[in-house]
Amino acid sequence: GDSVTQTEGLVTLTEGLPVMLNCTYQSTYSPFLFWYVQHLNEAPKLLLKSFTDNKRPEHQGFHATLHKSSSSFHLQKSSAQLSDSALYYCASQTGNTGKLIFGLGTTLQVQP
């Protein structure tokens, strides 16, 4: 079945350094890919969604590029901020029912 893999459980880095969180997926069909961010005791919030026309989505300084050849949708940001500390989920969506399949999440800790 479909699956999403996030290889890092925890990423710790210093403010101002670049961020890259990994996401790869397995799917029989071409899925939509999403990044959600969840702060402590809050709802997951949509950060990015892949486009069908291979445009690169950007939001709040984050961007991600869907690479079908490598089945990846890595999340990147050029300069981490303290407020970026949160739990980040990659999710895929295929099929006409629309359910999301989530990875296990990556906790990003940005230190001063």
């Binding site: 959600y36 709802a43 997951p44 949509l46 969604k49 006409n96 029912t97 629309g98």
Partner: protein, 113 residues
């Protein structure tokens, strides 16, 4: 910001008790999803609706879990006989289309003692 409303925010039940939680989707969103997020932060899809019709549900949902989305009323998820393993954050999400981004509510945190 998401406008999905979930009540109650916290729910504490004893084993064997019923647990019911509600969700009001964003206005204009006919598709509603329920997910369970466990203590390890793993998400599990439970069921989804388009308007009042069930689109898909997992096997677990067919046994102790029941859900509905009546017209002009909040959607609801009910666990008939709660078990300790049901302790989790139950998230409701709504979407303008079945195949589009989903917007999550704050969740109902269920604790089964």
């Amino acid at each position: 910001n998401s406008k999905v409303i979930q009540t109650p925010r916290y729910l504490v039940k004893g084993q064997g008790q019923k647990a019911k939680m509600r969700c009001i989707p964003e206005k204009g969103h006919p598709v509603v999803f329920w997910y369970q997020q466990n203590k390890n932060n793993e998400f599990k899809f439970l069921i989804n609706f388009q308007n009042q019709e069930v689109l898909q549900q997992i096997d677990m949902t067919e046994k102790r879990f029941s859900a509905e989305c009546p017209s002009n009323s909040p959607c609801s998820l009910e666990i008939q006989s709660s078990e300790a393993g049901d302790s989790a954050l139950y998230l409701c999400a709504s979407s303008p289309l079945g195949y589009a981004e989903q917007f999550f509510g704050p969740g109902t945190r269920l604790t089964v003692l």
